[in-house]
């Protein structure tokens, strides 16, 4: 297996490398861009924690949330103002940024500002979306659909590769268990790593209870630290968590975002466990138990 290293960041922002035997990388921020002031507040607060813990990170926030359950749910700030805020975050804090896009025609503009583009889980096998993502020439954060097996993500990877993209990070955000719950299959990480690309664990969406509140999704945030520790043990290369200073007032994913006050505790443990895992890797080598 040829383990690929993905570099996130262009221009003057700090370059972040994700991959095999590298330090854990954090992708985080509020689910949706709410305002410039809030984005700056969150970038400052998250950045401060990451700096304190010496964890390389990428600011994540979306200008458009196209998968909300209710027709009147907050949909986002819109393309132009959202991307302007992300551009301002890059300039002000020197941190790379990532945003998802849900319409192929918006990929180009997203990639012109963002250091990485994100393909939403529900759209992870849509050819037009994947082609548009690849054509941005930015690294692509591709989330495994809740309906997809981890091995089937290779088909989506092949679509990206077919359009020239070889900078991919694969994420797990849970798999449907019946109608109202998600589970995490921790074998998804080594299976997706077989593609050669690094993998990420999306902890805050994994505890989601899809549309459990009738017209919005619920979530069991108390399980975030448990799942984070499990995923780190399974060898993830990056950790994704949406964080908010006031989850109750969050305009998107209010029931799943991690309260900022807990972030340092969770991320610190994740960093220590990741470093321990790298030490184990160094001491015992790669797992080679009952190879095929």
């Amino acid at each position: 297996m040829n383990n690929k290293i993905i570099t996130i960041g262009y221009g003057k922002v700090k370059k972040v490398k994700v991959g095999h035997q590298l330090p854990l990388v954090f992708f985080g921020g509020p689910c949706a861009i709410e305002s410039k002031d809030h984005a700056f507040f969150m970038a400052d607060a998250v950045g401060e924690i990451c700096e304190k813990l010496n964890v390389p990170w990428v600011y994540k926030s979306c200008y458009d949330k196209d998968c909300r359950s209710a027709p009147d749910s907050f949909h986002g700030t819109g393309l132009e103002s959202g991307l302007q805020i992300l551009a301002d975050v890059r300039d002000e804090f020197g941190v790379p940024v990532v945003s998802g896009f849900s319409v192929a025609s918006r990929a180009k503009a997203t990639g012109e500002v963002c250091d990485m583009v994100q393909v939403p889980a529900y759209l992870c096998r849509q050819t037009s979306i994947l082609r548009a993502a690849a054509e941005t020439d930015r690294p692509v954060h591709l989330k495994k659909g809740q309906f997809m097996s981890p091995w089937n993500m290779k088909n989506s990877v092949r679509k990206l590769e077919a359009h020239g993209c070889e900078q991919i990070i694969l994420a797990d955000r849970g798999t449907f268990l019946g109608y109202g719950a998600l589970v995490n299959d921790m074998t998804s990480f080594p299976i997706m790593q077989k593609t050669g690309y690094p993998v990420c664990f999306d902890a805050t969406h994994s505890i989601q209870l899809p549309t459990s509140m009738g017209n919005i999704s619920g979530g069991q945030r108390e399980f975030i630290p448990y799942l984070v520790r499990a995923a780190i043990g399974c060898g993830i290369n990056a950790l994704f968590m949406e964080v908010h200073d006031n989850p109750k007032a969050a305009l998107s994913d209010a029931n799943t975002v991690l309260d900022l006050q807990y972030m340092e505790n969770v991320l610190h443990q994740a960093k220590i466990m990741h470093e321990t895992r790298l030490e184990l890797l160094d001491k015992f080598g790669e797992d080679n138990v009952h190879p095929e």
Binding site: S149, W151, N152, K154, N155, R158, I191, E292
Partner: protein
């Protein structure tokens, strides 16, 4: 008196590169099997960028894998073919005598032998045309 044509070499009888399945190491197993089916041959050769032989996969390899793999069939199909292949197959050269090559097939109980000259795959010796050529001699 023998009825066999002992003067023939492998190069005179082998299938050229257009007549048998050749795939790359990142071809998925499913696509390799489809290609084998199209050519109606039980073997596919895996080559690198310079035409070097990286491995082969045969009907028998797949059969043996099916008997012991524990992962879902869909995960098996989507694997890179190289991960399921024989990475050090027996090969022959084009100037080997045909009768010796068929003898090698009998000894190793195989129906196909990749033909490699100067580290490059140049053909495939398949049992049926080999026997036919020997008898027609």
């Amino acid at each position: 008196m023998s009825i066999l044509n002992k003067r023939l070499d492998v190069g005179e009888v082998m299938l050229d590169l257009s007549r048998f399945p050749i795939v790359t190491k990142t071809t998925i197993l499913k696509e390799a099997l489809e290609k084998m089916d199209t050519f109606r041959l039980g073997v596919a050769c895996i080559t690198g960028n310079d035409g070097q032989l990286l491995g082969i996969i045969t009907d028998g390899d797949v059969r043996r894998k099916l008997l012991h793999i524990q992962k879902p069939l869909t995960a098996f199909f989507i694997d890179d073919v190289i991960n399921q292949a024989i990475n050090n197959p027996i090969t022959i050269s084009s100037n080997m005598s045909l009768i010796d090559a068929v003898g090698l097939m009998e000894e190793r109980r195989v129906w196909d032998l990749p033909v490699v000259d100067n580290d490059k795959l140049i053909g495939l010796l398949h049992l049926h045309p080999a026997v036919k050529a020997l008898l027609e001699g």
